[in-house]
Amino acid sequence: MNYLAQNWVTLLLIFIYVAMCLYIGWWFKKKAAEGVSEYYIAKREIPGWVVSLAFFSTFISTNTYIGQAGKAFNAGLCWAWVGLFWTVFCMISWLLLGPRMRNQTASLNSVTIPDYFDYRYKSSLSKIMRAFAAFVIIFATLWYMVGIAKGCAHLLDSVLHVPYVWGAFLIVFITCAYTVWGGMYSVLWTDAIQGLMMFFVAIIMVMLPAMYVGGWGDLMTSISHVTHVTKAGKPMGDGLVTFCSLVSFLYILGIGLAVGMKQIAEPRCLIRFYSVDNAKSMKFAMIATPIFLGVSLICVMGLGALVHGMASEEEAAYLVKHTDQVIGFMLAKFGNPWVSGICLAGLFAAGMSSLASVMLIVGTAFIGDMWSLYRPMTPPQTVFRTKVTIVVYCFIVFLLTVHPPMNIVELTAFAGAVFASSFFPAIFGGLYLRWGTGHGAFWSMLAGIASCLIWRLGFRFTVPGLKNIHEIIPSFIIALCVYLLISKMTQSKVPDKAHLDRIFGTTA
């Protein structure tokens, strides 16, 4: 009874949120089961504001609201530069990829990212490339999902004292339930609601340190010169408000690129473009998405630095070594159950929206791009087997979350670099270059993955001075060069003119 009395507000808000997600999934169950196009891409009939919020909530996860926000505790207010880079890539994604991707995939009747490679390039390597891209998605996504589930389970454990294993089970299988029922319909609509929650939670969270201290003026004065020490034991002084005093700009650039580029290469983000219903919706989403993302990042990315104003020297000495606990500390110190409940619901929303998106991507990749490629199946079989795949994959994710590998954070970051370097040249070239070939796309994928591995395992941590150069930078450049070079060398493999006219238009 004491437990309920202490936590009823948080429990009530989380219960309402979870019930709403499950209801949306159930509501779309029948509609999503009508066909492959319905289940995989919501039949390209989703309004722009829903797709916009879904893109925002899919890209941003608990890692941003807890991990990145907490990181500013050590790096200072200049950590928001990471957010600036992310906003740039959000704009690039919507301006350069969004409308073209929507048009070309509709022309080709493509419903997944790997099948776009197949239909667009139409080469002897297309089928292999499609299956290979699906394999990369399934493998790289696994670590991302485990990382998200682990973060949410720890949050449930620390705030509501739910045992870690039960927390992992609940977060994975509640998300699994509404994803399996409603396919892309429920993923997009729940993502939109989760995106709205995340947007307002970001605004609420940034106000808490100022309210605690007594105003923005007092807060800025208190963090302008702190007596707290860095992880290395040196006094921070005015480092929190001085550009790159506590962190190198090269490191900020590496994280800014490695994570930000996910928006131009990861299937969970790009698949959002498929579902936009018309030009008006597309224009709205192109304007609104950078606003949702940008405002949230302004609020969240420097939040950790502001928390110094709430922390004593002893508390800061602990938090500087445990930056993932900075946001939890802030909520506990503020001490308002309604604020904590609302923020926690927002943090779960951030985790669940990302989980649901990748669950569906994995199911469609395995069935639509691997199994059905070699053993064709009817639409009802495709939908049913996709659902089964999602459930089985969730069991694997759950088991790995219970026994996570030691280096899960590094694996997750590495997976992002693999996506950006291996998928982007094939996508960008496919959308813009008539002369791009399947051979160029296939070999650029291999070159992207290989250079990621070689840089990380062979150079980054062994050659002095290269530690802060993230593998995304060299591997992205290499993959892009390989795409251009091999495409130029294999011009005889360019698809026929009629096919290209269908994709690009006849007057080009």
Partner: protein
């Protein structure tokens, strides 16, 4: 907060506004699924 640190915050706001202006001036065309008679030449000329 020094100037370069503050750039990150107002820089995001400026980017968002610039993006909105670009999109307002763009002519965005969206075709239907399986639509062979598209008009993408207006929007996506290819290279």
């Amino acid at each position: 907060m020094d100037f370069l640190t503050s750039v990150a915050y107002w820089g995001i706001a400026v980017l968002v506004i610039v993006n909105a202006v670009i999109v307002f001036r763009m002519n965005v065309y969206i075709n239907k699924e399986g639509d062979e008679e598209t008009e993408p030449s207006k929007y996506q000329p290819g290279v």
